[in-house]
Amino acid sequence: MDVTLKVQRFDPEAADPKPYWENFQVSIEDNGTVLDALIKVREDNDGSFSLRCSCRSSICGSCAVRINGHAGLACKTQAQKVIKDGVITVEPAGNMPVVKDLVVNFDGFWDKVMEVEPYLKPEGPEPEAEYIASNDAMLHLSGVTACIMCGACYSDCTVLEVDPTFLGPAALAKAYRFTADPRDGDENGVSRDRLEQLNKPTGMWDCTRCMECVTACPKGVAPMDRIMALRDQALEAGFHNTNGARHTEAFSDSVEHSGWLDELRLVPKSLGMTNVSALVGYAPIAIQAITHGKMPPIIHKKLPDSKNVRKLFDKVQGPKQR
């Protein structure tokens, strides 16, 4: 199969270092991967073309790049599945500074992994033999430890694009790997200290649930789902005193009560009713909403068939004492 690779290049030692595009024509096997094509460029066309790659079988996590604009492993992507009019576009992974060509600087990525103290911290004494744990619990964790730290999720995270301080999907999934581990934390497997840390700004509540990390992950780790599970764990452990927790609870209460969202009260409930300075900060937005006719109604009425919504809640959570 003939492929035109349109590759973003960057030479930091050039007189005027700037990213630029270069096209290479290469021929690969019909079921060849994007990595096969990239290696052809490096071996046959231009040895100065730099990329990281090693295992060729989606396990070392070296070759995450953007292929046609989306992050993925070059070695896991069959060229014939992504080729468009004979062309495949390859750029370095996003949200990390480019070092050279497709090589990016992972320092920020790893710093955030370090922030979650990524090692098992049991509070009790170790058993002499193995910890007893259910196979289901371990299989669930293995779904997360399957993460190869390739950075594809980090590359395409839309929160990181605007807020580089966000811990990001990989570090939070890594954190969940410990909070969900029955061996970590207290005798019931609850990792309170971790949850408290992750509850802070830049942590679990900063994800906007855009799903990009779930799409980008080549190993099915679904980082966003792990972040949502972290939130559940935090609420269950009693951490209600954050904007995120209050927002979630206010959102849920409103829908359960009336069948729809009471947008007017959502903001003060999320920020905290006594949090005057934060509330004042929202005043310009409120004024704009009013002047543009977007003010939610002051009286929030129940939807006529809100009972059915409550039934859904009952079904998921079990009936509440009312």
Partner: protein, 559 residues
């Protein structure tokens, strides 16, 4: 000045285990790796890690006997005893570190069957055990506070009067050359898979440590013993885990027959790897294969089991050959996989050079002899990584750094590398030289070997060594110059290739992974011995070393 009591080269499982043990032993410790630790090739071990746990009725002696038999009686029995005795605790340590091993119905560690073993003693995490272990070991490395040099390439080992002084290293991100002083150096640099083409090995497996040690005067042992894995994927040659057969998969010829009946009527597909690879190659050579492959059939295992325990190799089949093992057999063939040989060490990782240690695939203790059992490699890395780290920490306590002229060493290394960069274009390419070497090795040092073929390869290697002296490096820059790294790696690979071919040619019998059509039988009278190879003034020098036999008398191997 960068200096450390213990400097570990390579950050796979053996390296990180060694560094953690050295740090725990009180030594100032650093680990240096040409890739980030979690990119290391320990990742690629899929099937599991062996250990005989006494609390479930297994005995280390049984594990040891299976290992001795698997090695075709070339493994050193004293070393195998050390490994198998330590296995249980090593496994439990890894579980306590946080590895998410699959469990049995009672919540205890679960096992699967593996090749060449009479009972199921392979502990596993799905079909990505190596990756699971590697990432957990990295977690422990972080916790230990060991200094990490990530993406630093060791280009030379410095030895003065037979004692280690340190290494020269290239920081890949900046192109700077540094000298790092060390009282002890532990090589944990993995195997030399890329010397062969194709190979299951990652592109980073270029035998760096073996070549560095060999060039500095270290002895290599059993270099002829190169494992061809029975199930490597058609085309790219990437690994399809033995776990598939451990869970019950069949090997089928073109007519759908389970041909292993003819070769290993008791163990069938779970005979030792050398036996299965030879059987496959024999069938393929006899015209019973399918396009140079045979079939691995998992269909009868059912979707549920495949999704729980073999999901990643299923993905590899879909991604790389477009075949879903739930629905159809996948084409596989024997492919170069593992080096049983390497830097000769004792059970504490010590080599013949003072202060130089080795552990993991780059070392030859020898616990694998002529053929390694599946799931003994992860065990080897952890047990001997830890022992090396402990011993090196102790040895460096109270020891002094060996003095050497650091500035001169840096200048010389810079000059050597600049000369490599300054070579004019001549139409040759690094990749072309490597491919020439890899194809020649795979043609003549594969499952079946003979004198004529191996002499041809030795001759090819001479020509390739000449080409290597002038092969140009395209990239002249400093920052992340991977082309320069490939140039240096190619030199290391060529340094490994000749000892492999010379040892194989010298051994005039068939044993373990070495099957010679011109000497088809095992000849214990003349060849029950290790081949040792060392760099002499006039070239490689071969000698012999006895095999340690403690309690298992060599016998004919049948599966």
């Amino acid at each position: 000045m960068l200096e450390h009591d213990v400097l570990v080269i390579g950050a796979g499982l053996a390296g990180m285990r060694a560094a953690i043990a050295a740090r725990a032993g009180g030594a100032t410790t650093a680990i240096i790796s040409k890739v980030h630790p979690v990119r290391s090739h320990s990742n690629a071990a899929q099937g599991g890690i062996n250990a005989a746990l006494t609390d479930r009725g297994d005995e280390w002696e049984d594990h040891a006997y299976d290992t001795v038999k698997g090695s075709d009686f070339l493994g050193d029995q004293d070393a195998i005893e050390v490994m198998c005795k330590a296995a249980g605790q090593a496994l439990i340590d890894m579980e306590h570190f946080g590895v998410t091993f699959n469990r049995d119905d009672e919540g205890r560690l679960g096992t699967r069957a593996f090749g060449g073993q009479r009972r199921a003693r392979t502990f596993f995490v799905g079909d990505f055990t190596g990756q699971a272990l590697l990432h957990v070991m990295f977690e422990q490395l972080i916790k230990s506070g060991v200094r990490r040099y990530e993406e630093w390439f060791v280009s030379s080992l410095i030895i003065e009067d037979g004692k280690v002084c340190g290494v020269m290293a290239l920081e890949v991100r900046t192109g700077q050359i540094y000298a790092i002083r060390a009282k002890t150096v532990i090589f944990c640099t993995g195997g030399f898979g890329r010397v062969f083409e194709p190979s299951t090995n990652a592109l980073i497996c270029t035998g760096d440590g073996i070549a560095l040690a060999y060039n500095a005067g270290a002895e290599l042992m059993d270099m002829e013993m190169v494992q061809y894995h029975p199930t490597t994927l058609a085309g790219s040659g990437v690994l399809i885990s033995e776990a598939a057969r451990g869970e019950g998969a069949y090997l089928l010829d073109k007519d759908g027959n389970r041909f292993m009946e003819k070769y290993a009527p008791n163990m069938m597909e779970l005979a030792s790897r050398d036996v299965v690879s030879r059987a496959e190659q024999t069938e393929i050579n006899a015209g019973n294969g399918i396009d140079g492959c045979v079939h691995l059939d998992c269909r009868h295992l059912g979707e549920a089991l495949i999704m729980e325990k073999l999901s990643q190799i299923r993905e590899i089949g879909i991604d790389l050959v477009g075949a879903d093992m739930i629905k159809e057999p996948i084409p596989i063939r024997p492919g170069m996989h593992y080096a049983m040989g390497g830097i000769r060490t004792n059970v504490d990782g010590q080599t013949n050079l003072e202060g130089v240690y080795a552990a993991g695939e780059c070392a030859c203790v020898s616990v694998h002899g002529g053929n390694r059992l599946g799931a003994n490699s992860l065990l080897d890395t952890i047990v001997f990584g830890e022992r090396s780290g402990k011993h090196a920490a102790e040895a460096s306590r109270g020891a002094d750094y060996v003095e050497f002229d650091v500035n001169k060493a840096v200048r010389n290394e810079e000059k050597r590398i600049q000369e490599l960069l300054d070579r004019p274009q001549n139409g040759d390419r690094i990749a072309a030289v490597r491919l020439g070497m890899g194809e020649s090795m795979n043609r003549n040092l594969a499952v079946y070997r003979n004198e004529e073929g191996m002499k041809e390869t030795l001759n090819d290697l001479k020509g390739l060594q000449e080409r290597y002296k002038t092969v140009p490096v395209d990239n002249k820059g400093k920052i992340f110059n991977t082309d320069l790294v490939f140039g240096l790696e190619l030199g290391f690979m060529l340094d490994c290739a000749t000892p492999i071919a010379m040892s194989a040619l010298d051994r005039k019998d068939s044993r373990g992974a070495q099957a010679r059509t011109d000497y088809p039988d095992r000849d214990d009278e003349n060849w029950m011995k290790h081949l040792v190879i060392k760099k002499g003034a006039a070239g490689p020098e071969l000698s012999y070393a006895p095999v340690s036999i403690t309690q298992w008398t060599p016998e004919e191997r049948k599966y």
